[in-house]
Each structure stands twice: as C-alpha cells, then as structure tokens.
Amino acid sequence: MDRRTFLALPSIALASEPEGQFVSEAKFYEKLPNKKIKCKLCPRECVVDDRERGYCGVRENRGGTYYTLVHSRVAAANVDPIEKKPFFHVLPGALAFSVATAGCNVNCKMCQNWDISQVRPEQVHATYLPPAQLPAMAQRYRCAAVAYTYSEPVVFWEYMFDASAAARAAGLKSIVITGGYIQQDPLRRLAERVDAIKVDLKAFSTKFYKEVVNGELKPVLDALAAMRGLGMWTEIVYLVIPTLNDGDAEFTGLARWIKTNLGQDVPVHFTRFHPEYLLKNLPPTPVPTLERAKAIADAEGLHFVYIGNVPGHPAENTWCPKCKRKVVERTGFTIGAVDVQKGKCRFCRQPIPGVWGT
C-alpha cells in the first residue's frame, strides 16, 4: 500500500456506550478468603480486595468475583499497515484492523499510548465492538488480519481470545503486539488462536524493568521462550533509549540470549525512541546507536536484524541470510518488491521464516 492510499483510509468513529455490556467474568484468577481474589493472568498476581481493581485498572473484584471491564470495549480502532506494528515477516503489505482497550499491566515511562494504556476504561471514549462484528469490520477495510495492539492486549485477554476465534473463522489472521508480561497458562491458551506475536522487549536488564517499566524481565523472557515452543511466529522490538538501555554489553547479552533460547531466525527490530510521557528529558535515539546495536546483533549471528522508526534506512529491508540479496523491500510502511516465494528466497531458495501467505 502506498502512502497516499494509507492516508486516505477512513478513521473509525467511536461512540460512548453503556457499561454493562463490557463486563464479564475474568478467566484467570483464584478466589481467596474475605472476598479477595488473586489474579493469575500476568506475573504480577495482584491480590485484589472487594471493590478494588488490579494494577491494570481494567479488572475489578465485585463481591469476590473478578471481572474484566473491557470485553468488546474498544478505545482505539484503526486500519494500519502490518509493517507499522512492526511485523516484517508477516503478510508484507497487508492491512491490519487494529484494536485496543484501555489498560496495561506495566507502566513504561516511555509509553507512546499512555492516554489509553494508563487510564481506566471509564476514563476514555470507547465503543462496543463484539467479536462477532470484528471480522466484518476488518473485511470492510480490506484487512487481512486483526491486530490487538496499542495498549496491552494481555489485559483484554478474554476479548482477544474470543475475537481471534471469530477472526480465524472468517479467514483472518490474528496478530498480537504485547509486552509479553503474561503467565504461561493464558499464553498457552492464546497460542491456540493467534498467528503471530510481537513482543516489546523493553531492555535486557532487570534494573531497567524495575525502574522504567515497573515490571520484571524474567517472566518476559520465559514467555518469549514459551512462544517459540508453542510454535507462535514471534518478532521482537527493542526500543533503544539513550543512556538507559543502549550499552554494547546489553546489546550483546540480548543477541546471545535470543540466539541461544529462541534461535537465529527470530526477527529483532531496534527502533528509535522519541521523547514521550515521562521520558521527555531524553533526546531521540541517534541513528548510529541503532546501527551499532544492529552490528552487534549481526555479529552474534542473528539473521534478521532491522532498524525501525528511521524511514528509508537500508536496514528496513529483509535480506536473505544465505545469498545476501534483498528479498523484501521497504521504505517506512511502504512495500516494494517481495521476493519471498512459498517462504523461500526467490534467488537461492533459502527458507525465510515467517507467515507469508503465499
């Protein structure tokens, strides 16, 4: 899709809706004495009193039963190029009908979508878009996939799970853009219905996760390993933030961990940071820093290392790891030649892993 076509896509009007239709019992929690509950959706395992909510702000204990407040409660809906997610090995040039609810289970200081991720559902404009209606909406806009994105899909797990079944029945892919802060059981269930998952690995440092993300690194690494074990197509984005997660040792550690635990073929996107939310005091990432990260990851043997948020950079393209020819050409969100045929390089027949659709 060219830029003119992309800019001409309609935005979708949202309207406020009554509350009750968004509320359904949560799938993953334990009941505790005195009407308390323990959430088992994410590693945080919030213990929530009656009438209180978990850290995500979108799940509430009502009399000892835990509810999601965001089933079908869509706070953002857009038609995006799949490259914007970014997925570089999934249906190049396709459109993704992208939805999000309010809420997130971490609180990253660099969040670009904090106005929906860091608010409660009642604090943001939303519309009722049940799973049954989602495929038709996606198809109306010629989308090949439904993307669960923008905020944190883990916190709207029930909606994503139901919607991905409806999408699959309609012949659409389901793709997830997540921080990967999820317990193993809900992840395994999700893998039954989801075609691809992109994980924002925020850093390769426990300190960063504690101080900047308000979360933990290890459960994310565990989830990544599980995703590969479950056969989910996985890509990784690493937002490079000046002074906070841009050291050579961190890049090296990250690349080695990926190679050892996930394999050389997992795409890694080093993307450029722009000052947002609570990190407005830092400058955008210098492009040479991203190139340094890529060089380190390349040297460690990763096959598909990209640079993101730098439109026109050669490292946006996909290069065959064997014959070194360009097999997918990209400029920003615009796709040029695609020389992947049936999952292989058109020039040397080297397998190029991904979800190619042809």
């Binding site: 005195n34 009407k35 308390k36 213990v47 009193d49 009656d50 009438r51 209180e52 909510r53 978990g54 850290y55 995500c56 702000g57 609180n107 200081k109 860091q118 608010v119 409660r120 009642e122 604090q123 308000n214 939310y277 609570l278």
Partner: protein, 314 residues
Amino acid sequence: MAALSRRRVLQAWLGSAPGLYGGPPNSTVAIARDPQVRSSQARLATLLDRAVQAVYGSDSAEAAWKRVARPGEVVGLKVNCLAGRGASTSVALVEAVCERLQQAGIAAKDIVIWDRLNVDLESAGFRPSSRSGRIRTLGNDELGYGGDLAVYGSVGSLMAKTLTHLCDCVINLPVLKDHGIVGVSMALKNLFGAVHNPNKYHLNVGDPYVADVFMLPPIRQKVRLHICDALTAQYEGGPSYMPQWSWPANAVLASLDPVALDYTGWQILEQKRAEKGMPPLKAVKREPGYIATAAGAGHGIGTCDPKRITRLEV
C-alpha cells in the same frame, strides 16, 4: 462548642510552629475521644471541635474553624468511600464539618464533598448532587480529569478536575484503617482519590508512590487540614470493611501534618493489632515505609519523628 485549657492549646500550638526554634518543625496530632459520641450529632460536633481547636491552637472552636478557610473560598471535603458503609468516612462526621464551615462563613454552595466515583459516595451513604446553591457531592466521574500530566518522582497522573478546577482548598477526611497492600490508609493515601491512576501506585507497599502523589502541586498546595475519622477503625483486612477486625474507637484525629497524623494512626493500629495477638505490619511485610519517605529529604511533607510529634489527647 467546648473549650480546651488555654495553656494546653498554647503549648501544643507553639510546638507546631514551623521552624520556630530553628530546627525541623514539630507537629501536633490532636486525638479527641468520646465513648458516647454516637449518642447524638451534637456530641460528634463537639468532639470534632475539640480536635480542630487543638490543631489550630485557637481560643475557641469558632476561631479555629475560621482559620480553615475564608468566606468565598470553595472548600473540598475529600472523603474516603471505597469501602462502603462501615469503613468509609461517616456521613455524620462530614455533616458536622459542613455545619461548622457554614458557621464560619463558608456558603453551602462553596462546599464540595468529593471522592473518586459517585457510586462509591452512594455506597457510603452520601447522595451525589451538583445542584447549584447547595452543598455539592461529586465523584470524579462528574468532572473527569485534566489533560496535563502532573509529575513528581515516580508518579505521573492526571488530576481530578474537582480538585484543580473547583476547589480552592481541601479538608482531607480519611479513615483510620488497615490496608492490605500499603499497610495503612489514612491522610497521605487518601489523596490517591485525586489522581486518575491509583492502581499504578500500590507497588512496593506504596513506597514512594504515596508520598510522591501527595507532592503533586494541586494536592500539596490545596490540602490544608486533615481530619481522620476513627469513630470506627479497622486494624486488619482493609481497605474493605471487615467488621470482625473493626472496633469502635470513638475518636477523631486531626492535624495540619499528614505525615504526623499517619504515623500516629499507624501506631494506634499497631497497638490494636498487638492487643488482638496479631503480628506487627512489618512482620507481614506491610510496614508503611512511605510515611518515612514522606518525611524525608525530597519530600519534607511533615514529620514522623515521635519526638517531634505532640500527641494531644483532648
């Protein structure tokens, strides 16, 4: 209104004067008790007067109330209603505060009772109303939150417009109670109700989040007085109401210093826990370290040094 001994009030007030002797300021926490307080609204009002008069060191309760706010100012009463009836700020106490404010010259239309949600207010027995010319009772869901992030330390929040746009000053009316995550919930914690994202601030037993939220400019600038409802207090199982762990303390605590008030209230709860054979909060990993953080460098909200807290039983 009942009068206190002038000498006791003067002693307490001198002790509270910030920087009077060159060192860190002392703080007064007044604790007014009356076992018969539930017998009439008049007794409750009298109890309240004793606490407020002691805090301001005034000659009379009337004079003390006139120091809280000036006629023409809009006074917010930040109640705590999440737990519904039983462990929320009592309607009777708030009615007594409203009565005294009006006697001090504050017009009814300039009094705003507020908390996070209308449904919370209703569950505690308040009747949300925004009718002009009368006392208003508003959840933050009425006016919503501003669009600009207020930032301090670990927190970044949107502020309730009730606080930023409507109120000139605030009387903070928390409840003396236990909190299952952050240890205790009193004056400092009650201001979580002024931000859009309190669910983000319960990590690490609330430290430093509780102190950081209190530093957000609209809160720090507008909250003038803290009156803690200890008519019924709760030493375990909070913030929800758990009658098996509540007791009729029949008291009101008041202070200009939320840190001193929280420290004092925390000690009361610890004493009750010990009486009931329960472990101290530290032993159950719920020691409210945010109180010391609020007193420390970088915050300086008040004092939690018992040597600098004048605990005045009135």
